[in-house]
Symmetry: C2
Subunit: 194 residues, 2 copies
């Protein structure tokens, strides 16, 4: 278990000395999740800022009728944490669930703040993680407005094909904003055309 991939990720296009990133990486702790474990449960405060090195996770909430709604999928190479709960120190509405065995590296909120205050480069990193998440969410919202379910399906299939090996249809459906019945139909039509 080396921190090699974590260190690569911390670079994130920044052109900063490897020594600084080495120093940052030292704060991160190794973590392993078995398939089916929860990285975060609704009602708890998210206190881990996790770099996912291996495996797949799914975030979901329960809507007012009690149905599970998938809000996100996480693949290797992404940061996993619930922004609002983590930074505002409030109870999470979201659950984050391991769809497969996962491995990664994390720091706590307190550690993150220590690093923020002492290392300017890490501030920039942290900000870029937030901004990236923001931009991603924005384009997702826009696609909910401007695109058909089939277009959203085609895009997800292209951008994250691995998800389809990890998650059952109904979870992908609620992520796309449709029912599993509809997704089944859409997938059938889509297969005909391609």
């Amino acid at each position: 278990m080396t921190k090699e991939k974590l260190i690569d990720f911390l670079h994130q296009g920044n052109n900063i000395s490897p020594i600084v990133y080495q120093r940052i990486a030292e704060y991160f702790n190794y973590k392993k999740l078995a398939k089916g474990e929860f990285q975060l449960s609704a009602g708890k405060i998210c206190d881990e800022y996790l770099f996912l090195e291996k495996g797949y996770l799914r975030a979901f909430v329960h809507d007012t009728e009690g149905n599970e709604v998938t809000t996100n999928f996480y693949e290797p190479g992404e940061m996993v944490f619930e922004v609002s709960s983590f930074f505002k120190r409030g109870k999470s509405k979201e659950n984050i669930h391991a769809m497969s065995e996962c491995e990664g590296w994390y720091i706590t909120f307190a550690q993150l703040n220590t690093l923020f205050h002492s290392i300017p480069e890490f501030r920039d990193f942290g900000r870029s993680i937030l901004v990236q998440g923001f931009a991603g969410l924005k384009s997702r919202t826009l696609s909910m407005i401007t695109e058909t379910a089939e277009q959203r399906y085609a895009e997800l299939l292209k951008s994250s094909p691995a998800i389809f090996q990890q998650a059952p249809l109904k979870n992908i459906a609620s992520f796309l904003g449709i029912t599993d019945t509809s997704l089944s139909r859409i997938r059938k039509e889509f297969a005909k055309k391609h």
Copy 2:
């Protein structure tokens, strides 16, 4: 034109000395927009971090077919800037347009960074602005998935009634993810019930 409201806003629940906020506020410049002016145009880099004291703005993009899609409305007391363009220094896809005469206070990206590096409290403020925007966007996305158009209409009407005095129906409709025809029908049905 006093900076009183700006200073109140900078407090944002933090319990920090007014002297620090006074110092921060000194960097902000006054700005006035006439009705119809653009605070940001697609293709330009967003370089103003604007506190809106008076007036109403609307953000929109053009989708692949060239239709305007409203992505946000801004009311007095909010920060107005395009997260991705501002922080990543890239060309904006969004336009931000004054629906009425507006007044506010802004700093540039360079000034914001100067403040970030020298004033820890301002870092926390900046982060909380991002986190707040993130949480708001998330709940908007969720409502696109779990709620009917009528429910979304009812919520917007409740949370931001002033928008209905400022924006034409079609802009509100595209924000809600429906056509103006549908919104007209929904509003009619809704009026019957209430």
